[in-house]
Point group: C2
Chain length 317, copies 2
């Protein structure tokens, strides 16, 4: 007989969220653990602590009634069940055998995928992609991630790492240096860090007055607040960011022609400030067969904090 609950785990550079999820996508209990305290040699310690935290939160339900554990993580590999070469996890830069280790230690089946894929799976089951068989989820956070669904299936590619649209080239010449080692990646423009970088560059290049000039450190949230308050440079930063995203989206459409591109994460909260320039730039760069709103650009229908847990959980059913 099938069981009532799964555990969904969302691992990030700052923290990991753990939730107990039922078949109706209710999160019955959740807990949080710090991930940034684990150093390069601490992968095993992290996994031991994660297992302990899973056991602890599972006390809310009957352990035998847990079907399995789904984990979304940066550079999570669905085929291998590993984290591999994760730039933002000191303990995840090598190959971490997450699936096999946790499965052995908990006695439950474990499924691993990357964090953006988990968000896409959550969106497909519980969010704005319900009923869609072709869509792309773009996660706009510290980095830019993506989960691609074609013919109702996740695109994992030949090796399990497919869907790294944040590292497609947005600016070929004189592009920005990316953490990944490449130059001009979409992520260097459209992530939270990219937005702050654009703001700093533009403040340096002009004499235009801006409330941002008084700040020692500028975050994308500061740029958003300034734009909402009418700051001209801040508004232009969002226009530029949206333009870069929209140009790239037009190429994504030429690839898999999704019904919708769905934006998830902090930057998507900026609403029209970012959505309007995205749609304009995308439409301007589409082949005529796709122009005129044929491909929707939507905001995620999931609460930021829930999507990855729900998506990871959905993996485990």
């Amino acid at each position: 007989m099938s069981k009532e609950y799964v555990v969904g785990v969302d691992i990030g550079g700052q923290s990991a969220m753990i939730g107990i999820v039922d078949r109706r996508a209710n999160i019955l209990a959740r807990s949080r653990m710090d991930t940034k305290v684990y150093g390069e040699a601490d992968a095993e310690k992290f996994m031991d602590d994660l297992c302990a935290n899973i056991r602890k939160i599972a006390e809310h339900v009957d352990w035998d009634n847990i079907e399995g554990i789904g984990i979304g993580a940066p550079n999570g590999n669905y085929y291998q069940g590993t984290i591999e070469g994760a730039a933002n996890l000191p303990w995840g830069k090598g190959v971490v055998p997450l699936r096999d280790y946790i499965a052995k230690k908990t006695g439950k089946p474990v499924t691993v995928t990357n964090d953006a894929n988990a968000a896409a799976i959550g969106e497909m089951h519980y969010g704005n992609a319900k009923g869609m068989t072709n869509f792309i989820e773009i996660t706009l956070g510290t980095g830019v991630g993506s989960g691609i669904v074609v013919n109702g299936q996740m695109v994992y590619g030949h090796d399990g790492f497919a869907g790294e649209l944040g590292h497609t080239c947005a600016v070929r010449y004189n592009g920005r240096q990316c953490n990944c080692g490449k130059v001009g990646c979409l992520e260097t423009y459209a992530s939270a860090i990219g937005v702050a970088r654009t703001a700093r560059e533009w403040l340096d290049m002009s004499d235009e007055p801006s409330t941002l000039r008084s700040l020692e450190v500028i975050t994308s949230k500061d740029v958003y607040d300034a734009a909402i308050a009418g700051d001209s440079i801040a508004k232009k930063v969002f226009e530029f960011t949206g333009q870069k995203l929209g140009e790239s989206f037009a190429d994504f459409v030429a690839f898999s022609t999704p019904e919708a591109i769905i934006l998830f994460g902090g930057l998507a909260e900026a609403g029209d400030l970012i959505m309007k320039p995205i749609v304009e730039a995308m439409e301007a760069n589409l082949l005529s067969i796709w122009k005129g709103g044929k491909v929707k650009v939507l905001r995620s229908g999931l609460k930021d904090s829930d999507a990855a847990i729900l998506g990871a959980g959905a993996l485990a059913w």
Copy 2:
């Protein structure tokens, strides 16, 4: 009981090829018809003549033993069974109801897809993609087409038009004007016409001696012959073309991470002249997880003239 033969039809701007194909991919008979004689108002006349040609070539076998008809055509839509907005077919610029018309007239089931998808299906069944579940076929002809296979299935997208990688942006600023109306499309650099255009531009910009200077009209074949003979400008044209392709391929890998990208069509015949710069530029632009030959770049295993007929035929089984 299932039947022994299918009809495969490959429609192009110059001609249409029709073949009778058996289950072992033998082409038992083939014929050719001119397509460029049909004007804007001649879509119905073209379809009538195509049906007559199919009937005629089918005399080689028993008509009742024909399972169906598969057609590959520019802007062929798998879902709708139409040709729609085909820039290179005067009679195909509107919406041509190919599937329904031919099916009614012949009494056989008809399946339509675009020409590059048909080549990919041929490659998967009979060529170098045999056994692969994730690969991309790139057709390098007058234009640049693509057929994408993910999880063993063609990527048709939400509307049946997915996989137009020739119209992803290769050069964002000061890119070349494309026939499609956009600027900087890969097709403007990597098609046969793009190669000739590069050669002409470079001859104009330099004083370097070149055997190409004596030609009134330069074709990609001329550039190839000159490069093979050691002409320095011609060799650099191939390096540049390969670089543009390789840079774009790196972005395609970030999307669907295929086991291989397979090149089909005239330009692929240039061998190392084009393959070497493609692989170099692709590797230089890949994320480190994919570097080092993890994604193969291969030439098609199909004869140019057979691939689309076999692919279109495979659609009909």
